[in-house]
């Protein structure tokens, strides 16, 4: 059973719109960059290609048939995953760890700027008879319900949610992939009217276009291509009730993320407190409360206590555990199925010491936790490490 290495990453976009390329063009751009970064020839060196996308986001039925050529996978083993890019990485892990493949490429993309009916597609994901017909005004109301339930259960004050937004949007100013970064103060957030109670518009991530490609390899093969290796020590994935039964969701919790974390930690053989294990965390924050909930479900913080550490500055860029030094989705935007891979790229660059102005000093171990977003209850968690920085 081989260790699994991440040997290359490539990205394109992370902009509010990208009219200069079509979605296949974006896939080609990020993949060309990843193969250059990994020093691999996709036509010779990559054994399997995994593409993460969803038909309705593309506006094309059977869009998986569009996958192979733009990522170099024509007439090679290629398959698609209708889910967040981090789920594709889980497939890559299995292919390599089982010995079926030596090198696997994973691509995910999202081009929300081109989806004229984005609101309708969100509603299209709801149960057609028991949820979709309700005049709810905004599909993200589901996050409002979770936020209110989370605050009621844990006693987390409104100010803590606002602090997440202020921290992440400001932190993103140092990240070139963060179009929605801005100097936002706690007061700015608290003074803004609610968009979806209990959150203002500052606390709800916007959308951006991006394509991300990641190249993974077995330990033996990885060393032939690069010495800038980041290890994928563990990866977990889980779905709670699914969107066919949203009513059965445990409101104010994300049990799928907890299960995904337990799976990933077991693989990575993490014992004791995960909060002391990691140098940084890139966790789900498309809604402000989700950062705090994600930190609790990944057991970085004890239940209901994430806001205490946040207020103490523990998750600041210069704190003991920087959380979302990239600025998170609040600054980078949501790139649909590429959101999790975007955060994986952030973690990889940090562990290679290549994160530029937002480099966390001496970063050696990183946590990445993604959620597929409303109206899904699917999560994935990855544990990464590297010796490049030591």
């Amino acid at each position: 059973m081989s260790r699994v290495a991440i040997i290359g990453v490539g990205w394109y976009g992370f902009k509010p719109s990208t009219p200069e390329v079509h979605f296949q063009g974006m896939m080609f751009e990020s993949s060309s960059r990843a193969y250059a970064d990994a020093n691999v020839d996709p036509r010779k060196d990559v054994d399997v290609f995994v593409d993460c996308q969803e038909d309705m986001w593309e506006g094309i039925a059977i869009a998986d048939e569009f996958a192979p050529e733009p990522i170099g996978g024509a007439l090679r083993p290629t398959f698609t995953v209708a889910g967040d890019g981090l789920l594709g990485v889980a497939h890559a892990y299995m292919l390599i760890n089982s010995g079926l493949a030596n090198v696997v490429a994973v691509e995910a993309h999202g081009k929300p700027s081109e989806i004229k009916t984005l609101n309708d597609i969100y509603y299209f994901a709801f149960d057609p008879l028991h949820l979709r017909p309700l005049p709810t005004g905004n599909p993200f109301f589901l996050a409002g319900l979770d936020a209110q339930a989370y605050m009621a259960r844990t006693g987390t004050p409104r100010e803590s949610l606002a602090l997440v937004a202020s921290k992440n949007r400001s932190q993103g100013l140092l990240n070139e992939r963060a179009p929605y970064a801005a100097r936002i103060t706690l007061d700015d957030v608290l003074r803004a009217p609610y968009a979806i109670y209990p959150m203002s518009e500052y606390e709800i991530s916007r959308f951006s276009d991006a394509s991300v490609t990641v190249v993974l390899a077995s330990e033996e093969v990885a060393r032939k291509f690069t010495d800038r290796i980041v290890w994928l020590d563990g990866i977990g994935f889980n779905t709670e009730v699914g969107t066919g039964a949203v009513e059965l969701h445990q409101w104010g919790r994300m049990p799928s993320m907890r299960q995904a974390a337990l799976m990933a930690y077991k693989m990575a053989r993490i014992e004791g407190s995960p909060s002391r294990y990691f140098s940084l965390a890139e966790v789900e924050d498309r809604f402000s409360f989700m950062e705090l909930l994600a930190l609790e479900e990944t057991m970085i913080a004890p239940e209901g206590q994430a806001h205490v550490s946040l207020e103490a500055g523990d998750y600041d860029f210069n704190g003991p555990l920087p959380v979302n030094p990239s600025g998170g989705s609040l600054a980078m935007g949501i790139q649909l199925e590429a959101t999790g891979l975007g955060r994986l790229v952030e973690a990889v660059l940090q562990l290679r010491g290549e994160a530029g102005q937002h480099q966390v000093k001496g970063a050696r171990r990183a946590l990445v936790a993604s959620w597929r977003g409303v109206p899904s209850y699917t999560s994935a968690v990855a544990v990464l490490s590297s010796e490049v920085n030591s």
């Binding site: 200069e20 506006g59 309708d120 008879l129 409002g144 109670y197 039964a245 009513e247 059965l248």
Partner: protein, 152 residues
């Protein structure tokens, strides 16, 4: 060539009139069929699972993969969680905010998602609500046969 991208949007061609297809026929399933009849009759059903838990609305199967039995939900209903939508997905302020709640009947383990007609200041988790059905001739066997929930 990939390095030679157009960068002025005026030179890029769009087809803004194209839209995604959205016409489908949905069948309600075995339990959904019974729920449809009940809703048209002004009643709500749940499914009682092997472990004794009762869920609304009833699915044809239970979360533990067992086949449950349909039971009538009698209430009383209480507000478990709520949110208020002030803006749509594109950031436009709504003329009237929409209150959405998880409304849990005492005789079920979970709650329905539905619209709550109540003054914002009066909203309290735990408050008792009742379903208000549409007039019988307007019911279709779907969730909107209940027009909204309101305080008792």
């Amino acid at each position: 060539m990939s390095w030679d991208k157009d960068w002025r949007t005026s030179e890029i061609i769009f087809w803004p009139e194209r839209e995604e297809v959205d016409k489908y026929v949905y069948t309600p399933g075995i339990s959904g069929q019974e729920l449809a009849k009940a809703l048209m009759d002004g009643r709500v059903l749940g499914i009682k699972c092997k472990d004794g838990q009762v869920y609304v609305p009833p699915k044809t199967y239970c979360p533990d993969f067992s086949q449950g039995e349909l039971v009538e939900i009698r209430g009383p209903w209480r507000l478990l969680h709520y949110t208020v939508v002030y803006e749509d997905l594109y950031g436009n302020r709504l003329q009237n905010p929409i209150v959405i709640g998880i409304i849990k009947p005492d005789d079920a383990s979970n709650g329905l998602i539905h619209i709550v007609n109540a003054e914002l200041e009066r909203l309290r988790p735990g408050m008792e609500l009742k379903p208000v059905f549409k007039p019988k001739d307007q019911r279709k066997g779907i969730i909107t046969d209940i027009d909204h929930f309101e305080p008792v």
